[in-house]
Each structure stands twice: as structure tokens, then as C-alpha cells.
């Protein structure tokens, strides 16, 4: 469905001293995302997740590399790129509403941009706003909504034209756990019906619960791709945790006995628990920030 070969993005910008500087945000990334799959991009802040999505959604020109949709090579300046864009539903990381319009008008603008007819637009607007639970603010200016409400409208807007591919860049930030679960359920339903979902997140729980496969990225580079369970069983199902001085240490083990032996050898207070994707993530990226 989505195939990416050796994708890179190097930003050229003026630094604080007004000198030209370069930043490699995405570094030689290759991915192959299957139809109907929920694919997660997991990485700390600044690891290039947003830049990747921006290139895939034709918002940003790659420096090098190729993008294929349904096996077809797609370039941002192609004449028929509009057919491909029609398939995209995009939930950007940063809210990009038209602040001069109401919720309904923002949704309607979206429907018009995606060439929906009036009847479909009206049906979808009320259906989706009801689903995400914000129908009472339909005629409010978007700028007056709370952060969580804006996010929900953002998701509803992306789904309006029944996109075949859904790009979600940290979609559940600032949502309370209840709403988050509801959004997850929605994403699962969509994937079951054949929608392909590419989701970035720094919530490990989200990746573990939701994603069929996860790509772990750091500094713009792909570290590894696997299913959440695959990662866990490869790197160790059990964790020994102990305290050394003031900070916590941990080590992954594949069977409980080994973990137990290790713990008894340790001359420190500690315990054993089942490992999760977070442990894998820290083990692989060596960093905890951005979690």
C-alpha cells in the first residue's frame, strides 16, 4: 500500500548566528506498509516522525528517496498526484484549523476541498461530530474550543471523506484516557474495514495496544520493525528492576529463571516484572526523554 525507499529530508536553515545550517530530519528511511494495517512510528521527540508524515502526505518535498502508493511511484509535482491525495485522511500534530471559521465551516471547507457533494458533507459532519462527542459546539468558532475538543474535531475532519489511508501524527495527545480509548476503537474499526493507518506516537501504550507493526525510529533513522509482541519476545519477556543509589536500572531477560538468578546475585533491592514495549524502546534508543 505505502512503500518508501531510502527517504531522506535535509532541512537547510539559518541558525542563530544567521549562518546556513543543515539538519537531517529523516535519514534513509525505508518502509513497506500493507493495506489495512495499523502501522506505528514510535520515536522520541525530534526523531523525524512528523517530517516523514509530511513527506508521505505531499506536504514536503523529500531531499532524496521514493514513495509508492499501490505500487505506483508518486512525486509531489506529478500531474496525477491529486488522485493520490484524495485517498489521504490527515490528522496533523499541530492543529491547523481555519481560526476564522466555525467548527461546521471548517468541516465544510474540508468536504469541499475533497470534492464531496452537499448531501454527503452534511451527513458526515453531523455523524462524525456526534461520534467524537462535540456536536454541541458545531456552530462555535474553533478558536474558542478547548484543546481536547479541537483534537477531536481534527480527527472527525480527517475522516470526513472516507479516506483509504489515514495518517495520524500523535492524534491522542491532550485527550483524557476515556476519549483516547474511544479513538483507538474507532481506528480499529476503520482498519477492520480496510483503511490503512499510519500513526506516530510517543505513548508506548498506544503503540502496544493498537499497532499491528511498529517501526522504532531515532535521529531520523529506522532502528527496527516488528510486531509489539515480536519486539518483546526478542528482547526479553522479563525485566529485573533495581535501584542503584538514586536511579533505577533494568535488564531484560528471556526466561523467568535467568531473571531470578540475576536478581539474587544483585546486592540491591529490586524485583521482576513482565516487560513491555517501553523497556524495548529504552533499550533500543538508550533514552528516556520524550516519553
Amino acid at each position: 500500500m505505502i512503500e518508501v525507499k531510502n527517504l531522506s529530508k535535509v532541512f537547510k536553515y539559518k541558525d542563530k548566528k544567521n549562518q546556513m545550517a543543515e539538519k537531517t530530519a529523516v535519514d534513509n528511511l525505508s518502509l513497506d506498509i500493507k493495506a489495512g494495517e495499523i502501522f506505528g512510528l514510535l520515536g522520541p521527540n525530534g526523531s523525524g516522525k512528523t517530517t516523514t508524515i509530511r513527506m508521505l502526505t505531499m506536504l514536503l518535498k523529500p531531499t532524496t528517496g521514493e514513495i509508492f502508493y499501490d505500487g505506483r511511484h508518486v512525486d509531489i509535482d506529478d500531474k496525477d498526484v491529486r488522485e493520490v491525495k484524495q485517498m489521504f485522511g490527515i490528522v496533523p500534530q499541530n492543529l491547523n484549523f481555519d481560526m476564522d471559521l466555525t467548527v461546521r465551516e471548517n468541516m465544510e471547507l474540508h468536504g469541499r476541498l475533497y470534492h464531496m457533494n452537499r448531501k454527503d458533507r452534511e451527513e458526515r459532519i453531523s455523524e462524525l461530530l456526534k461520534y467524537v462527542g462535540v456536536e454541541e459546539v458545531i456552530n462555535d468558532k474553533v478558536r474558542n474550543l478547548s484543546g481536547g475538543m479541537k483534537r477531536r474535531v481534527l480527527i472527525a475532519r480527517a475522516l470526513m471523506h472516507n479516506p483509504r489511508i489515514l495518517f495520524m501524527d500523535e492524534p491522542t495527545v491532550a485527550l483524557d484516557p476515556q476519549v483516547r480509548r474511544r479513538i483507538w476503537e474507532l481506528i480499529r474499526q476503520l482498519a477492520n474495514k480496510g483503511t490503512t493507518v499510519l500513526i506516530t506516537t510517543h505513548y508506548i501504550e498506544e503503540a502496544e495496544e493498537l499497532c499491528d507493526r511498529v517501526a522504532i525510529v531515532n535521529h531520523g533513522k529506522l532502528l527496527d520493525i516488528d510486531t509489539p509482541q515480536g519486539f518483546i519476545s526478542r528482547l526479553g519477556r522479563y525485566v529485573v528492576e533495581w535501584t542503584e543509589g538514586t536511579h533505577k536500572e533494568f535488564k531484560l531477560f528471556n526466561c523467568r529463571e535467568e531473571a531470578g538468578q540475576y536478581l539474587t546475585q544483585l546486592d540491591a533491592p529490586g524485583g521482576i516484572r513482565k516487560s513491555n514495549l517501553e523497556d524495548v524502546f529504552i533499550e533500543m534508543t538508550g533514552r528516556k526523554e520524550g516519553l
Binding site: 505531499m58 506536504l59 491529486r82 496533523p92 491547523n96 484549523f97
Partner: protein
């Protein structure tokens, strides 16, 4: 293609509808002041070279500068859509014809320019001015709005901060408002300055509008100059819009 242009135009129309009264009222202030101060107050003691009243001479000039200011300032709001709200991204990722954005924004600015021109026409008649309006007069007005809308668009694409947008108003539009044959004929200016001013689009608009309003013969070369400006700024603006993706 036309549908996409309409979508972009529709958005600006919705925003304009929300604030129509405020828009019209605020647009009346400057032209009323010009008409009162220069046409009515000062103008009664001025004899123009052609012997007519200064008010009649002034009205086409005010229409030229006003339509320039309105359309330019209508489109520079795109700057906020680009920098602060990022709502421009919705257009960039959507499956619309890429030039529909520039054209739709321009047409919306032309509409605003025409609404405020209509207000001035009414005010000018109320002040007792005499002038003729022909289809060519309206065409020139539309062209003037479109040229300055697209200059505003290109500026909004290239300029990084809102303060710099203000500087474009102060250092480019304000001098043009006064010097481009709006309040007085460019013939009185020193040659070097006159040559420079005659390269500017607003000079041609003033010349055309005044000539038509006073039933004089006008050179269509000036219409050609405006069209040339229109094409050039369209290309510059469109390029800058697509360059946002780099």
C-alpha cells in the same frame, strides 16, 4: 478546477459575511476623509490644469488607491494562515488544483475591492462629483484589484513576520497612494522621479480611471501594462506558494 477556485473563494466569502457591516464601515473612513479634506475643503480653492473641479479630478485617484489598499490588505491575511494557524496546509495536502488557491484568494480580494469601490462611487456622487463609469472603467478597477491582491499574496508567501508585512504597507503602498497620479498629475514631478513612477502599476490605473471618468481618450497600452503586471505577480506568487513545500 473551477470548483476548487470556488471553494477557496467560498471560504473568504464566509469570513467576509461574518463581518460585512464592520468591513463596510471601516472601509468608509479613509475615503470620506480624503473626499472631505482634499475634494471638498482644499479642492474648492484649486483649479485643475484642465479647468474642471478638483473633486472630479480626485475621485478616480481615490478609487485607484483605495482598491489597491483594500485588495492588498485583504490577501495579506493569508500570512496568518501560513505562519500562525497553518491552515494553508489543508489546501496543500488536499486534492485541489494547485493554482486554485492563488486564484480564489485573488478573486475574493477583487470582490472586497469592488464593494469598497461601490461605496466610494456612492459617496462621491453624494459629494456632488461628476464622472462617467463605463465597462472599461470597471475592467480597469478589477485589474487593479487583482494585481495588488497578487502582490499581497506574493508578499505574504515570502515575508516571515507580521511586522515586515506592515513595512510593505508603509514603504511601498503608502508612497504609491500619494505619488502615482492619485492626488496630482505626475507631469509636475522631476523627470527622473516621473519615469520611475510611470513604471508602477497604480500610475496606470489612475491614468486610465481618470481618463475614462472624464470622457477622454485613453491609451490601451496602460491596460497592457496592468495585464503584464498581473501575469508576472501571478507567476511569482504561485511559485512561492508551491515553494512552501520545501
Amino acid at each position: 478546477m473551477l470548483g476548487d477556485i470556488w471553494t477557496v473563494f467560498w471560504r473568504d466569502w464566509v469570513v467576509l459575511k461574518h463581518r460585512m457591516t464592520a468591513f463596510i464601515l471601516s472601509r468608509m473612513v479613509a475615503p470620506i476623509l480624503y473626499l472631505v479634506a482634499f475634494g471638498w475643503g482644499l479642492g474648492r480653492s484649486i483649479q485643475t490644469a484642465a479647468g474642471g473641479s478638483y473633486l472630479d479630478f480626485l475621485v478616480p485617484g481615490i478609487m485607484a488607491l483605495n482598491s489597491m489598499n483594500i485588495s492588498f490588505n485583504s490577501v495579506i491575511q493569508v500570512h496568518a494562515e501560513k505562519v500562525y494557524h497553518k491552515s494553508i496546509e489543508e489546501y496543500l495536502t488536499s486534492p485541489i488544483w494547485p493554482h486554485a488557491f492563488v486564484i480564489g484568494k485573488t478573486l475574493a480580494a477583487v470582490l472586497r475591492g469592488l464593494i469598497s469601490s461601490a461605496i466610494i462611487i456612492c459617496l462621491a456622487y453624494a459629494f456632488g462629483a461628476n464622472f462617467t463609469i463605463t465597462p472599461l472603467f470597471l475592467l480597469v478597477l478589477v485589474l487593479n484589484c487583482a494585481v495588488f491582491a497578487e502582490i499581497g499574496f506574493a508578499a505574504a508567501m515570502y515575508i516571515k513576520t507580521y511586522e515586515h508585512m506592515g513595512q510593505v504597507n508603509t514603504y511601498a503602498l503608502l508612497p504609491m497612494s500619494f505619488l502615482c497620479g492619485t492626488f496630482f498629475s505626475t507631469h509636475t514631478l522631476p523627470d527622473a522621479l516621473r519615469w520611475f513612477i510611470e513604471l508602477l502599476p497604480l500610475t496606470h490605473t489612475s491614468y486610465l480611471l481618470r481618463g475614462i471618468a472624464m470622457n477622454q481618450e485613453v491609451s490601451l497600452l496602460s491596460v497592457g501594462v496592468l495585464l503584464l503586471y498581473l501575469v508576472i505577480v501571478f507567476v511569482v506568487g504561485s511559485k512561492a506558494f508551491l515553494k512552501l513545500r520545501e
